[in-house]
């Protein structure tokens, strides 16, 4: 649920952002303290950018002690991939790329004509976790994004098959996080659980964090598809009967280009984006993610199978 707050200069929210930052840093340090081989999921999207920023703050003046991992569908926005590679190099972090394209080429997963590659990320993700022996996987998911995510723990155990069992989760009490797990299991860690979309943008603004250019309003060729503005790219050509037009848009989420819609916007600064987010009457996923519209339980089903 996106909070409706007047402005970021609101003193209440300033205090609240610091509370959120302190909580996330505490969680990230617990991961370092409790696990042998953590990895931080980094897609170049705003949530994972905030995660990486917090992780660097948590260990300052030491360097980021975790490698980064991206599950690349092969259909990502070029601006985001450029950002991802540049930042990983700047931070001196090892970047593990789990490729959906390679998984398709080797026959590990099968692509279905006309369907998004988003669900196909699960197998390369789990394969990379297993082959790198990662025991903790830090992700930027937030409970306000979606109803199944609202039931997710901060430390969330995945079995040998990477599966999430929402009916059998560990109780999570006080700020005592239990990362104990059996060999073969791993734990997903969500330090941004208590953040909302608005908090993310207000924090990016407060900290002056660089984000990929597609988050800002820009001119782009789009079509109306399934009630979303879909960008015309090499992976998403216009379909018959669709009218391509050029207009000012920006992205609220940056996932796979085939299922991530843009929103009409003229927000060209972080302050504009914060204002626009606060005033929005449509949720982030509702506005921009075709994959979550498939059914009421689309996210739950993907999560059960091991998705982010």
């Amino acid at each position: 649920m996106t909070a409706v707050l007047p402005t970021t200069s609101d003193s209440l929210q300033r205090g609240w952002l610091t509370d959120l930052e302190d909580e996330a840093i505490h969680i990230i340090r617990e991961v370092f303290g409790q696990f042998e081989r953590p990895v931080l999921l980094f897609s170049g999207g705003k949530d994972s950018i905030v995660m990486a920023h917090l992780a660097m703050k948590a260990f300052w003046p030491s360097r980021l002690p975790f490698p980064l991992m991206h599950v690349d569908t092969g259909h990502n926005f070029a601006e985001v991939i450029e950002y991802r590679d540049r930042k990983a190099a700047e931070w001196g972090a090892r970047l593990v790329v789990a490729s959906v394209q390679e998984a398709i080429d080797s026959g590990r997963v099968t692509e279905h004509e006309g369907q998004t590659r988003n669900p196909l990320q699960t197998i390369p993700l789990l394969d990379a976790i297993t082959s790198n022996k990662f025991d903790a996987v830090l992700g930027g998911a937030r409970r306000d994004e979606e109803k199944a995510r609202a039931k997710e723990r901060v430390f969330s155990v995945r079995d040998d098959f990477g599966q999430w069992d929402p009916r059998n989760q560990r109780p999570e009490l006080w700020d005592l996080y239990n990362g104990r797990h059996r060999t073969g299991e791993h734990v997903r860690i969500f330090p941004l659980s208590n953040w909302t979309e608005l908090d993310i943008w207000a924090y990016i603004e407060r900290e002056g964090i660089e984000v990929p250019s597609i988050y800002y309003a820009h001119q782009r060729e789009v079509v109306d598809r399934d009630g979303m503005l879909l960008a015309i790219t090499e992976f998403t050509p216009p379909r018959e009967g669709e009218t391509v037009r050029r207009q000012s848009v920006r992205y609220r989420t940056v996932g796979d280009a085939t299922c991530t819609g843009a929103v009409a916007s003229t927000a060209s600064t972080l302050a504009d984006i914060v204002r626009e987010t606060a005033a929005s009457t449509i949720s982030e996923r509702g506005a921009t993610r075709a994959d979550d519209r498939a059914s009421e339980a689309a996210m739950e089903d993907r999560k059960r199978q091991g998705y982010f």
Partner: protein, 414 residues
């Protein structure tokens, strides 16, 4: 002006209409977004319901929607012009204590729901006992479904009297009763016109204005999470202790003691990436440098000399909320997780457990799922604790099953 953030836990038995109440609160506070509302309307129509079932805003799992029940704790985030809220919605069946304890462990306010037609049940008393035990500072008794009893004041008063009796047995000195009808929205966001006899606030009004009781200022407690040693050209000799101030305030220059070793030093600096701080208050995640080179590691606790000292002990008298199917018996072994320290533990003796209908302790030699009981625990290494009644964060611990890793108990130091 109340402080920024309020953490609220809602608890009720099955069919008390808790998801409906939460959905109604979100809907009437106008924090439900257009697409979320149309998804709920579409889902309600598919199920053949009259109008939108607001409970569907909250019940996120397939099984929940199929069975019309809430299975797991769900967290909701919303803000009004006056305050930001984190709402933990805890379901009331099977693992009720486990869910309630989870939500209550961090809550400032507990909203306990009762169906006006059934009144105070054992389940209600259990929720009250958990809220009281975990020291949730404000308790609301929300008597729901008032519309189904004709908004009868006498029935409401009777329920409040029963609840007050249970509260006084548990030593709860105050609570706030509110008559509501979540399905139609009476006294949720605005005051109801159907209950002229009720003069108190609507639920949201109460939540927006309540000031959770601030405990007395506590002595400083800083459990070390991570030792920061960059060994880089810019910071060749840097050694800092990263952690969160769990209680009190830590200041530069403070004379400190490291526990359990008992070595002493002083705070040379409090670092953050945004610059040095003169002091760090409760809740701040910082990195502390000490004047002396000491062997300090994860699990140690930094305290300030001259302030009331914690207890350093290998034996705990504790209250446990038992959260798993396999019963606890004397001589069972577990891993105990307290602050940033893990130690092996053996339960020496189960002393008693709480009888929920009378709310008094009775003799027991085991604890089963949902039981709350008193035990004695022996530890392989010392821990640095305070009584839970004094300090919610250094008085709390978990018991963890060594083989499965499951969290089996919430523990409170007595």
């Amino acid at each position: 002006m109340p402080s920024g953030l309020l953490r609220v836990v809602t608890a009720g038995s099955v069919d008390d209409g808790k998801s409906t109440l939460v959905g109604r609160l979100l809907h009437d506070a106008k924090v439900v977004l257009a697409d979320q509302m149309s998804a709920v309307e579409a889902a309600s129509e598919r199920r053949g319901y009259q109008g939108a079932d607001l409970a569907l805003l909250v019940d996120g799992l397939r099984a929940e929607r199929e069975q019309g029940i809430t299975i797991d704790v769900a967290y909701r985030y919303f803000a009004t012009a006056r305050r930001t809220f984190i709402l933990a919605d805890t379901p009331g069946h099977v693992q009720y204590t486990r869910n309630m304890v989870t939500g209550a462990s961090t809550a400032d306010v507990a909203v306990i729901l009762v169906d006006a037609r059934s009144g105070v049940l054992d389940q209600t008393k259990r929720h009250l006992a958990v809220a009281s035990l975990l020291r949730v500072s404000e308790i609301v008794l929300a008597v729901n479904k008032m519309d189904l009893i004709g908004y009868d004041e006498a029935i409401f008063d009777g329920i409040v009297t029963d609840f007050a009796a249970a509260a006084s047995t548990l030593g709860v000195d105050h609570f706030t009763p509110i008559p509501v009808a979540a399905l139609v929205g009476d006294n949720i966001v605005s005051r109801s016109t159907s209950m002229a006899w009720y003069e108190g606030p609507a639920l949201l009004e109460f939540l927006e204005t309540v000031e959770p009781h601030e405990g007395p200022s506590l002595p400083a407690r800083f459990p070390v999470q991570v030792v920061i040693r960059p060994r880089t050209p810019t910071h060749p000799d840097y050694r800092g202790y990263a952690g969160r101030v769990e209680a009190g305030v830590l200041r530069r220059g403070d004379k400190v003691q490291i526990l359990p070793s008992g070595r002493v030093s002083a705070v040379a600096g409090i670092d953050t990436p945004d610059g040095e701080l003169d002091e760090a208050a409760t809740g701040r995640s910082v990195t502390v440098r000490l004047e002396d080179e000491l062997d300090v590691s994860r699990g140690d606790v930094i305290i300030v000399e001259g302030q009331p000292a914690p207890i350093v002990t290998r034996e705990l008298n504790a209250t446990l909320c038992w959260l798993t199917d396999r019963p606890l018996r004397a001589s069972d072994r577990y891993q105990l997780r307290h602050a940033t320290r893990d130690v092996r533990a053996v339960v020496d003796q189960v002393e008693s457990k709480l009888d929920i209908s009378t709310l008094t302790p009775i003799d027991a030699d085991e604890l089963t799922l949902n039981d709350i009981g008193a035990v004695r625990i022996r530890l392989a290494e010392p821990v640095v604790v305070d009584p839970y009644d004094v300090n919610r964060s250094t008085g709390a611990f978990l018991l963890v099953d060594e083989s499965s890793g499951a969290t089996v108990a919430a523990g409170l130091v007595r």
